[in-house]
Subunit: 405 residues, 2 copies
């Protein structure tokens, strides 16, 4: 019969196994970040390539496609190395289902690039396809963050996911602004949409700031000097505030693009630091858990030697009084520690809820209004913009009104 002691140790071993699996997920998140970055760049370049009828960025595009191909192989290798034994992965069903979507979208990349090559689709269509793939990759990161069982690692993953999502909104803003400036004019609808991208971006970066450790925050602040931010905000003001007749200086398109690219490249440095810290954190946690398990075992061995009783997990369950008290103390300490961890985890995870609420509202609209995913999201965003409310608040209202839909 297994004793209480053997379950005490099994619980600790489960913690270690969870941490080791989490470390693999964190590795994956880092590599996905690199692919997202490369695809964001290819999306921007393809957009200009198509917008200029193939006269601009032809060479850069080919170089970027090659760069993407390399990082993609890296991501595929990581997917491939994942343990897909059904018993072995926490949150496996959701994670694997998301990966299935990403792999399917990656399989479609050569076809997409061929159509960009032949200028067989509009800049908007190409951007849409890249954006869907990137969003699929970010969902994989989200699932990794959502399944973390250690509160400290969960904090780091929440910071990471929100930073990556914020960076993606920055990329979308770059594309949106470049097209707006290049077209030479704007209108109230475009300005609202632009504003929306800025707000979404700032909300993600706010969550990132709330959860990132001081070292990363320092790097992030150093990374965004006042001069650069002033230039960004000046261009945003020109693009986003109403002008007579909505005229925009088309020459600002390139300046805007460069300003945003500079910002995004800076963000990549911060993201790399986040990924490196995440790796170190996982290593530290795993080493710590191993040490604690060893210490626990040593204490038990010492006591059982002193009392002449057997503290091996499979021994009969009659220990000396001191050993008895020690085991009870360890059991209580472990239960308490796990409870505290689970409470902290719940606090951290509320930061992930915003996305879940929006996804749920979207799902509800899709089901009740027979809308596509894109249209459901547009409807939510449109309502948020026209009522000047946050997307989250609108999503919450939608869910609260579910019975009336």
């Amino acid at each position: 019969m297994k004793s209480g002691l053997s379950f005490l140790i099994a619980a600790r071993q489960c913690e270690i196994a969870e941490l080791e699996q989490l470390a693999l997920s964190c590795e994956l998140v880092g590599v996905i970040g690199r692919l997202v970055h490369a695809l964001q760049k290819e999306r921007g370049i393809s957009n200009i390539f198509l917008g200029s009828q193939g006269t601009r960025f032809g060479d850069q595009r080919l170089r970027q496609v090659a760069e993407c191909g390399q990082v993609e192989q890296h991501v595929r290798k990581h997917f491939n190395a994942l343990d897909t034994q059904p018993d072995h992965v926490r949150n496996g069903a959701r994670l694997f289902s998301r990966i299935a979507f990403v792999l399917h979208a990656l399989d479609g990349l050569p076809g997409l690039r061929q159509r960009v090559d032949g200028q067989a689709l509009s800049p908007g269509e190409a951007t849409g396809a890249f954006t869907r793939l990137i969003s699929g990759l970010l969902v994989v990161v989200f699932e990794a963050a959502d399944s973390a069982t250690d509160p400290e690692i969960s904090r780091a993953l929440v910071a990471m996911f929100n930073f990556m999502q914020g960076k993606e909104f920055t990329g979308q803003e770059r594309a949106f602004g470049a097209t707006a400036f290049a077209s030479g004019h704007t209108n109230a609808g475009h300005q609202q949409q632009w504003q929306h991208l800025i707000e979404s971006q700032e909300r993600c970066l706010q969550v990132f700031s709330d959860f990132a450790d001081p070292g990363v925050l320092g790097e992030w602040n150093a990374n965004q000097p006042g001069d650069d931010l002033a230039e960004l905000e000046r261009l945003r003001r020109i693009g986003c505030t109403p002008h007579t007749g909505g005229a925009l200086d088309a020459n600002l398109s390139q300046i805007w693009f460069d300003c945003c690219t500079h910002r995004i490249d800076g963000m990549k440095t911060v993201e790399d630091l986040l990924a490196a810290n995440l790796r170190l954190l996982c290593e530290r946690k795993i080493a710590q858990a191993h040490t604690e398990l060893r210490d626990q075992q040593a204490t038990l061995d010492d006591l059982s030697r002193q009392e002449g009783s057997a503290a091996s997990p499979d021994a009969p369950t009659h220990y000396g009084p001191q050993l008895e008290r020690s085991i009870l103390g360890m059991v209580q300490e472990q239960a308490h520690r796990l409870q505290v961890m689970s409470d902290e985890l719940e606090t951290v995870r509320t930061a992930l809820n915003e996305r879940k609420v929006i996804e749920r509202a979207k799902g509800l609209l899709m089901a009740t209004r027979k809308l596509s995913e894109d249209d459901a999201y547009k409807m939510l965003r449109q309502t948020a913009m026209s009522q000047n409310r946050r997307l989250l608040d609108v999503a919450e209202s939608v869910l609260a009104m579910a019975a009336y839909l």
Copy 2:
């Protein structure tokens, strides 16, 4: 390289593995229910045995100890059969840590019984020891409910956990009332405490009613005929409402005890039905998941034969157009289904949050006020009673005021 298709199938296999593990947890929950019932009975009998200075219930007690011993062996066998491989159990750390506590408490049972035998402790002390063990067993059930990944099974487990917890409050009310009547008098403090047990019980049974399926609810209603309820409420009214001088008829003690025992035995029938339904539900879900996986595989085989392309998970990722569309459809359908399941799960799980909020508030008081777990709980309950608020509301206020504590 693994294809998107292989991850689609791996996701489904993970679902099946999660269901199979859940089925084991549900089996365990059923057996734990039997042990809780036997221990509740032993607690009541020991209480009367000690209260009567060993003159009453001596034989019943020995029979009940033997009965408990048999069921305990059954539970131990189930614990023993659990797969404690670190990688294999979802929520393993928390579940095993709770089991470690239970096993430790079970190891202490012979010593406890010896002291009851020798009348070396008060009825209150004996009751306290049994109550802690039962509460430890119920926490194992709670962890099983908390780690369920299928919303339908989660609903059934939430109903089951709340029914078991409600039944335990009924058992505590039986003991409390029996002592109150036997003592021949009562006071405002006792009446408040009695009231509190009734309210806790009713809240659990309300959650049970919200989550149980109609068949079980029908059995529950048939199980509690009006006559029995009227008698229960009449005795409660006598025990709980202020009398001149607080005098109680000591002869009502036995009548009260029998009335409650009748109620508790009836609850056991409902609990057995809940356990049996839970088992059937798990079997049905597992069979269904296997069928769906087979159907999916068959569709893919058919299509690949028609198109002459390979749809095996490890084949190259270039499929014919129809197969391509089918795979995308399946990937999207799976992601959507998992999302819907996760949303439903979240809704069901909010029912488990009440306990978590109270546990968190208790932990906060223990840490900031250096209280024992029991004293922290008493402090919360005392505040709830004196302010005439629900325990949950008080716990939420405590958490909201965390910064001031």
